[in-house]
């Protein structure tokens, strides 16, 4: 087993850890905003680490470019989806969210 394979395993495990953290956050966090935070942040990092791990063992340049592209598209998609859900929440129950903010 060479260095790249060991690095790949380490990165993939890191990614798995972040996915696990994101899932736990999604289930355990109390309201939509903090759940969104857990989901998007952890998933972006998790997918990023897994892509990094796969790049370590990939054989050709097009493969690496495609993997990075997948990560970038997922970043764009998840951050925008996060904005849309958050914005919808903010618009639909404004009094509730002001209440939440004053609690901090």
């Amino acid at each position: 087993m060479n260095l790249f394979e060991i690095l790949s395993i380490i990165f993939c495990l890191c990614g798995g850890f972040f996915f696990l953290g994101g899932t736990v956050g999604l289930i355990r966090f109390p309201d939509t905003y903090s759940r969104l935070h857990a989901l998007t942040k952890a998933d972006n990092l998790g997918l990023g680490f897994i892509v990094l791990g796969l790049i370590m063992v990939s054989s050709s340049m097009p493969e690496i470019v495609k993997l990075i592209l997948i990560w970038l598209l997922a970043l764009i998609g998840s951050s925008s989806a996060c904005y849309f859900i958050g914005n919808h929440m903010h618009q639909s129950n404004k009094p509730q969210s002001i209440q939440d903010e004053s609690d901090f």
Binding site: L73, I76, G77, S80, Y83, F84, N87
Partner: protein, 306 residues
């Protein structure tokens, strides 16, 4: 290791389908159904069928999810029923019998059985294509593909009839002042068009093809429609209808014209351009049909305004 992974997928598939049946609300059931589609795509990947996996992920998890969510928005009642759903006993017994019969027949298949892949492999030179799945879809079994396009077209006509609409254009609102929405369209739309074209081009020699490309393009159209982007309304009503039946009519023309020089329907001269023509027409038709299905869905923005 692979066996463990496969077993996890199988257990998850059964578990999720049980949860769909016993889901308390419609929303939960839809989310679970999308999850089920993604797991099914994973299962197809493990079965070495990337073509079906792409189609399942795009249609089963993506577009069907949008359709179901739209429908839920239209039928949403003020209170969700909290009662437990009972599964009818007859249905349960019939399902169990079906599982036993299917399982038994799956066990009867000899382990070295290669199906029709050898026949297809031998007939490959006849088709002029390099990838067997595309050859089966567009040449050997083109009749099935033709009728599938017909099913899509009929579905669109059916939805239009039920919704009592004769026009699909003009159902998009002008772009709302939503900077993030406009930004994501600007970034994702070129990618989706490129990926759609790439999948179509890939179909000649690798997993991909008309259906997958059409679904990706339809996804781009749905994104534009959801954001209220006006560019879909640029197409006039007659050109929209023309594109709707382009794929089906191309097949029809091929079937009819082949009767002139051959005694069988749907035989084609050994020209790659012929197959490519069908594939391009089918892709455009599939994309337009799927967009129409979603545009004419009950929760269409036009209905809300009027």
């Amino acid at each position: 290791m692979n066996l463990i992974f496969d077993l996890i997928i199988a257990v998850c598939l059964v578990g999720i389908s049980m949860r769909i049946i016993f889901a308390r609300g419609h929303f939960q059931a839809i989310v679970l159904f999308i999850t089920y589609g993604l797991f099914l795509a994973l299962a197809w990947t493990r079965l070495n069928s990337p073509d079906i996996a792409i189609a399942e992920a795009a249609v089963g998890a993506g577009l069907t999810g949008v359709l179901l969510m739209d429908t839920l928005g239209a039928i949403k009642t003020s209170e969700e029923k909290k009662m437990r759903i009972k599964v009818p006993l007859k249905l349960a017994v019939m399902s169990i019998v079906l599982v036993i019969v299917l399982g038994y027949s799956a066990l009867q298949i000899p382990s070295d059985f290669s199906g029709l892949s050898l026949t297809v492999h031998n007939a490959m030179p006849l088709s002029g294509l390099e990838y067997s799945v595309t050859a089966v879809l567009l040449d050997f079994r083109s009749y099935d593909t033709w009728l599938e396009l017909g099913v899509l077209l009929t579905a669109v006509i059916g939805v239009l009839t039920v919704r009592r609409r004769n026009s699909l254009t003009g159902s998009a609102l002008p772009a709302p002042a939503e900077p993030v929405g406009r930004w994501i369209i600007k970034i994702l739309l070129p990618f989706m068009v490129i990926i759609g074209g790439y999948l179509l081009w890939l179909g000649a020699f690798a997993p991909g093809g008309a259906f997958q490309a059409g679904v990706v393009l339809a996804g781009a159209g749905v994104m534009l429609w959801q954001a209220g982007h006006p560019c879909l309304a640029v197409l006039s009503n007659s050109s929209w209808r023309l594109l709707l039946c382009l794929g089906f009519s191309t097949f029809l023309i091929l079937a009819a014209s082949s009767l002139y020089y051959a005694d069988q329907m749907l035989t084609h001269p050994q020209i790659k351009a012929w197959i490519l023509g069908i594939e391009y027409a089918a892709t455009i038709s599939i994309a337009i049909c799927l967009i129409s299905l979603i545009q004419a869905s009950p929760n269409s923005k036009l209905d809300k305004v009027s």
